[in-house]
Amino acid sequence: MEWFEALALLLGTIMLLMAIGMPIALAFLAANIIGAWVFMGGERGVMQLLNNGLGALTKYALMPIPLFLLMGEIFFHTGLGGRMFTAIDKLLGRLPGRLSYVTVLGGTAFSTLSGSSMGSTALLGSLMVPEMSRRGYKSHMSIGPILGTGGLAIIIPPSALAVLLATLAQIDVAALLIAGVVPGLVLAGFYIATIWLQTRIDPTAAPAYDVAPMSFLSKLGLLLREVIPMVSVMVIIIALMIRGFVTPSEAAAFGALGVLILAAIFRCLTWKAMKKSVIGALKVTLMAYLIVFGSATFSQLLAFSGASRGLVTWATSFDLAPLAMLLVMFAVLLLLGMFMEQISIMLLTVPIFFPLAQTLGFDPIWFALIMLLSLEISFTTPPFGLLLFVMKGVAPAGTTMREIYTSAFPFIFCSLFLVALLIAFPQLALWLPSL
């Protein structure tokens, strides 16, 4: 079978099944069964599929996600979240969309703690979305910024994906990590601008209500009592991580522990809240991990059948000008990213793209950063972006996939704009590492 036939068979199956309303995880499993049957020699291929799923799930790197979810759920169900957001509302007064700004700022700060965008989305989603919708924010004002900042986690150091990419491509790890700082902050700035624009265009998207004037002292009291304790949990964990007490993967467990202790101090830790939190975290995790189970093998089938490699080799076989070639590579990454898992994409494309980038005269650090950005974007692009499904899991009942797609769009556009800026001004990435 030619590579494009294999590609058409695998992608066609999954798109069709998703369109007729099969649960995403089951659609992957069905495509895998068909793919395993065709490319792995009949029914024994299906057994291999289960073995692959076992390998994909028992990975240490997956551990932070349920724990960040648990942290967010405890924060919400114990009422700590409500108290903190009420305080922020009072402190920030009339600023329209203030919790959306808080999300971006918090998300940017959190990116310095988390190396995984799934963990970041899980935490911010479970932390912010329920409170924001309770306060009358339209869903795109909460979901959009969180999907955006989820992606920041893999650009701003620490970033597990950046370390892996640098190692695979044999480039300077530290330089790539540092190169992500300025573009990450610029991107966060774009998000802030997007929110400002959105509240301008549609003032009802975020509730604006009059806040009674408060004295400086009562503001300070509110800050100390309701906001500082939660923020210090985050600060302590970041400090522990910098001191080498915990690795980024382990930080989530201490985040959950920190919120538990805080809830105990504020006397709002109940068995009922705990049970609700575990169930809430469990639901999102189970949904997302069964998709991981299916999609990991799907990625492998795309590789094993020769479909993805065929695509990559074909797309890069044309004799194009450097900029056109860069765009081709970017497009291939986005396309693969719609269906494949990020690490598999890197393993597949690095050996082809980096030598090519070198012959085209690209700076490898700059190129690696663009590659990271494309992986980040593909994490939030329909039809299959894992972050979108995580978001669906934490969003209030009745939120449709379409709402989630449209919320993501303006923030995806910000990332695309950043890529354009990086192409025009490579110094944006390269200035800091060169110091």
Binding site: M18, I20, G21, P23, L29, A30, M47, K59, M63, V246
Partner: protein
Amino acid sequence: MINTTYKALLYGLAGVSGLMLVWIMVSVIVSVVMRNMGLQPFAWLFTSAEYGLLYMTMLGAPWLVREKGHVHIELLTAALPGAARRLLSRAVAAACVLICVILTWKGIELVMTNIKRGDFDTRAYYYPRWLLTIAFPLSFGLMAVEFSRFVFGRELMHSGEAGIHE
């Protein structure tokens, strides 16, 4: 009687799944604290958390089918008129049953192969592989039952309510 036993099994496994989540948190905290006190963290803390991820996902998945927690896209089901929508919804559920039955059958074969070959998972310890893979037939078997409730039962998997939204 069978019904009560079945329900107890379904919810019992979901409970185990929730305990696994808590266990993952505890094991990470304990091993980090031990390490920083200058003790050697038990390797089984780390390994059991990795295995915990598998057990958590597989044992909880059938319960999530009942809770309609597995995300799907309502595109066609929202566009179709009542009768056709109900038919499609039941057909999709039936396809899910078929997928789960195939995976149950292959899962049983995998467990038998693991036992016959004496396969071990070699991380910190040599752990019998079938103790891991047994989660597959158990999980997909129960999922098949749960999906079949949407084929034959009164309730449908798809709401169709979303109108033009999805």
